[in-house]
Each structure stands twice: as C-alpha cells, then as structure tokens.
C-alpha cells in the first residue's frame, strides 16, 4: 500500500470539492441558474427572499441563484478546458513527433512557428482573434487549443530526439517500417504519459485564460455564466456585496490549485522534471 503524498491528498480534496459543485449541485432540486427574481436581488449568503426561498450562497444583481450559477459556470469552464486541452494535445504531439522524427527543414519550420507564437503574449493573441471571429463556447475551446500546443510540441520533440536513436526504433526502420508506423507504434506510446502531465498543468492555465477573457467580456457570453464574467459583474458591488466577486474567485482558486497539485503529484510520482 503506497503512502498518499501531501500533493496527492490536497489535489484530491480540492478536486472533490469541485466535483461536488460541478456534478452534484446540478442534480439537486432547486438547481436553477437562469430564473431572475427582481424582488430578491443581491441577497447575502443564506439570504431568504420574500416568498420564503432560501439561497445558500445568495443571489446576483438579477436575483439569480449564485450557487446554481457557480455550478453551471464550472461546467462550462471545464468543458472549454477539456476541449482546448484535447485540441492542443493532439496538435502539439503531432507536430512535436513530426519535428523530432524528421528533423531538418520540417523541424526548423515547426519550431520557428512555436517561437513565433511565443513572441505574441497569449492573452493578446486571443483577444485579437476572438474580437474578429466572435466569442462562443466552441470558438473559445478551439482558439485556446490552437494557441496552447507549444508546450506539448516542445516536450514531444525533445523526447523524440533521444527516442529515435534507440535500438527498437532503429531496428524497425532497418526492417522497412514507415515513418507513420514508427511514430504511431513506437513514439506515441512513449511520449503520451508525459503529455498527460503537461496536459494537467496546462488545464489550469487554460481555465485561467478563459476566465480572464470572460472577465474582459470576450469569453463566454450571457446568459451562460462563467466565473470570470461573474467576477466582472461583482466588481461594481464590491463594497455592497463582496461575495458576488469573491465566490467565483474562490471557485477558480480551488480548481486551478487542484490541478497544480495534481500535476505536481504526477511529476513527483514519475520522477520527471516539470516542464513549463
């Protein structure tokens, strides 16, 4: 029986809280993120409206249940995050493996592209692109994915550079195995575990990016809630009802810290250097 490390325990606890919020809350009776009640706006935590309904975390400026909105926002962010990680992982691994396996001009072009992308701050690039193509949940997942492949690409390429000189690949090559076969059968399984670690680290980064865009009004669009947008709405009521901005901030913290610990736990367990 392996001892559970501190990082693992913390990651587990934080992500459990998140799972309860995102998965369990929507199943409970009284879950209603949309209905407005202008007679019950800005209720404090545990506040009760005139018609006797109690709101555990209070209500927002339009009298909507904050707990339900937090839960739905969490679902939306998680979906965007998973979609973006999937897109960037596939893209980054593919480009990284190709660059590392073929070397030469192909590698130069792919790595040049990576450098170029790193020379434009990601938030700015995303602002410019979403301003033009228009924000939507689908667009966000794709755009966040397309701009996040560099970390996977670099690590995959680095690992391929040493793997391609190993005997099992050389012998396959000598026996006439095609590049596609080698990449798919021999390289991919070897880089995948490390890619999942990068993915768990990147997931937290993407959640923060999405929240930042939503805070700026360029991410998830109303009536769909998003933590970033909820913080921005709450900013105007900071002295009157600070929980409006603080609750989504706490939710963000729990999710991001949870994934930070998770990737740390992975890294330690596999005795790998953290890549960032």
């Amino acid at each position: 029986m392996a001892r559970i490390s501190f990082s693992q325990a913390t990651a587990g606890a934080l992500l459990l809280v998140m799972a309860i919020l995102v998965i369990l809350i929507p199943l409970l009776p009284g879950y209603d993120p949309y209905t407005q009640d202008l007679g019950a706006t800005l209720l404090p935590m545990g506040g009760t409206s005139f018609d006797g309904k109690t709101f555990l975390l209070g209500t927002d400026t339009l009298g909507r249940d904050l707990l339900s909105r937090l839960a739905l926002a969490g679902e939306v962010s998680t979906l965007i995050g998973l979609g973006a990680v999937a897109v960037s992982l596939v893209m980054g691994v593919t480009l990284g493996l190709i660059a590392g396996y073929f070397r030469g001009p192909v590698e130069a072009v792919i790595m040049g592209l990576a450098d170029l992308q790193l020379s434009i701050p990601r938030v700015l690039l995303l602002i410019a692109v979403t301003a033009i193509v228009g924000p939507s949940v689908f667009n966000l997942a794709i755009l966040l994915g397309l701009t996040s492949w560099v970390a996977y690409g670099r690590v995959a390429r680095g690992m391929t550079l040493s793997l391609r000189e190993r005997e099992f690949i050389l012998s396959a090559r000598v026996q006439g195995a095609s590049a596609t076969w080698n990449i798919r059968q021999h390289l991919l399984p070897n880089v995948l575990p490390q890619m999942l670690i990068v993915g768990s680290y990147e997931f937290g980064m993407i959640i923060v990016l999405e929240a930042s865009l939503s805070y700026l009004g360029l991410g998830v669009q109303p009536p769909l809630p998003s933590w970033g947008m909820m913080v921005s709405e709450g900013q105007n009521y900071l002295s009157l009802a600070p929980h409006l901005a603080m609750l989504p901030s706490i939710a963000l913290f729990i999710l991001v810290a949870g994934f930070q610990f998770l990737s740390q736990a992975f890294t330690k367990e596999n005795d790998l250097e953290m890549v960032s």
Binding site: P121, V208, Y215, L216, F253
Partner: protein, 305 residues
C-alpha cells in the same frame, strides 16, 4: 560575438515579420475595411474609390506587401472611431503601460530577492514554509481575482489606497502588487535553485575557510552569480507580464495600451487592436533580444552554443 549578435538579430527580424503576417491575416479576417469606414448611404462609386485608395483592389499578395511596408513605418491605418492614426492612439498610452510593467517587474524581482534571502538566512523552518505556500497560492489566483481582493482589503475596508485610475504613486501600488506577485513562486524557486548551485562552488568554501560569516558569503560572493539566471528568466517571462497588463489595467481602470485594446474590441476598432498587439509584441521581441545579447556578453558559454 558579432556572429552571435547577427544570428539573434536575424531571428528577431524574422519573428517580427511573422507577427506582421499574423496581423495581416487578422485584419483581413475582420472583413473589408472599406465597408466599416464608409457611411451606409455611400454610392458604389465612392466605395470603389476608397477601395482603390486603400489598395484593396490589388491582388492579395500586393496587399500583403503594402501592409508589410506600412507596418514597418508603424502605419496601421486610421482608427475607425476617431479621426486619428491607430498607432498614435496606442503610443499615447505607452507611458502608462511602461510605468505599470516596470513597477510590476521591480516588485516581482524585489520580493523574490528579499524573500529568497530571508529563506536562506532564517533558521526557522516555518518561515520558509509560509513563504513557499503563499507564493504557490498566489500563483493559483488569476490576476483579476487577486486585484479585486487587494481592492476589497486596501480600498474598501481599510481605505488606504485608491482603487482605480493613474496619477500619484499611491495609484500604482495595488496594480503593481497584483501583477508583480503573479510569477513570484517561479522566481523564488529559481533564485533558491541558483543559490543552492552556487553553494557547492569552491569559492564559497574558500570564503568560509577565510572565516567570513554566512551573511557576508551570501551577499558578497554568491548573490552576484545567483542573480543572473533570475533576471534572465524574468526578462523572458516579460511576455506573461505584458499580457497580464491587459487584465490588470482593466481591473484598475489604468489608462494603458491593454485597456485601450479591450475598449477597442467592444467598439470593433480593428486597426487600434492590431496596432496595439503589434506594438506589445515588438517590445517583447526587442527586450528578449537585448536580454539574450547581454547574457551572451556576461556568459560566453551562451554564444558558443
């Protein structure tokens, strides 16, 4: 050395050309600028005249070259909302963003420096733990959330500091703290790692053998060597910082380039957006170039690689 500088310079020029190319595709994705510029009652002849004046009737490749040429001189067209060149609007905001970026950079490096040395010198384990955990926790809070917590504590509750705008030194404190502490965990880890690496060197043992105290060895002998990697990484991470200014400026209504870009998005003023993004990327590329060349001077191993 000349070869190293030339290679690095060429790389930067290529990157900037790449950024301009990306900007070109973005502006073309935004649609025909003549439609955005003309009033709805304009005749087709007027539209055709404007299109040829803007070079939009040329083949795409010629348009690209024209765009490239204009961008080199900082010309990204007129703002769609104000009758001013887009770049002028951006340049007007540069001092505010510079002020914020420099202050945040100083806060980040300064805190890492002070806390890193404190962690070295203290014999109390819990002090080290508190600093490490605080820095790690800070990293998990997005810039806008942290900014609002700062406002809540120092402006709403304590009423010590202004919560928005630019002007006095007091206005700068909260934004710089918000942005500057974001990367603190990374800086601390790096600083600690490089101090530990220095610790194993012969010159440190020699200094101890000469009878110097811990503090003296640390400050006089190890520090100059350990600071170099910290400053380099901070320089490379400036992209993160510059990106962070966008959000920080919005939180604190700081009148910088980032806030201008966000406002221009809601006004659909594309030339200003592209000019702003281009300028920030340019600054970032140039700073990276300078950091690399300086590093090449200071550490010959870099330029031989």
């Amino acid at each position: 050395m000349a070869g190293f500088i030339f290679k690095r310079l060429l790389q930067s020029v290529l990157t900037i050309a790449g950024v301009i190319t990306a900007a070109f595709f973005l502006t073309r994705l935004a649609g025909d600028p003549s439609v955005l510029l003309l009033p709805p009652e304009a005749s087709p002849e007027d539209a055709a005249r404007l299109r040829s004046a803007l070079g939009l009737d040329q083949p795409l490749f010629i348009q690209y070259l024209l765009f490239m040429g204009n961008a080199m001189t900082g010309d990204f067209g007129m703002s769609l909302r104000q009758a001013v060149p887009a770049m002028d609007l951006v340049l007007e905001r540069v001092p505010a963003t510079m002020e914020l970026a420099v202050a945040s950079f100083a806060v980040g490096i300064g805190l890492a420096f002070v806390l890193g040395i404190l962690m070295r010198l203290t014999r109390q384990g819990w002090v080290r733990d508190v600093i490490t955990w605080a820095a790690l926790g800070r990293q998990a809070i997005p810039v806008f959330s942290f900014g609002l917590v700062m406002i809540l504590i120092f402006s709403v509750w304590l009423r010590w500091l202004p919560s928005y705008g630019r002007g006095t030194f007091a206005h700068l404190i909260l934004p710089a703290l918000t942005l500057g502490t974001y990367e603190l965990a990374l800086y601390l880890r790096l600083f600690n790692a490089s101090l530990s690496a220095e610790q194993r060197n012969d010159y440190v043992r020699t200094a101890y053998a000469k009878g110097q105290g811990r503090i003296q060895v640390l400050l006089k002998h190890m520090l100059p060597n350990a600071l170099l990697p910290l400053i380099t990484v901070a320089g490379i991470n400036l992209g993160m910082l510059l990106g962070g200014t966008v959000v920080t400026e919005t939180v604190f209504s700081w009148p910088g380039v980032g806030r201008l870009i966000v406002q221009s998005v809601s006004q659909r003023d594309f030339p200003v957006i592209v000019a702003g993004v281009f300028l920030i990327s340019l600054v970032f590329v140039v700073i990276n170039l300078i950091v690399d060349i300086l590093y090449g001077f200071l550490d010959p191993r870099v330029r031989l690689n």
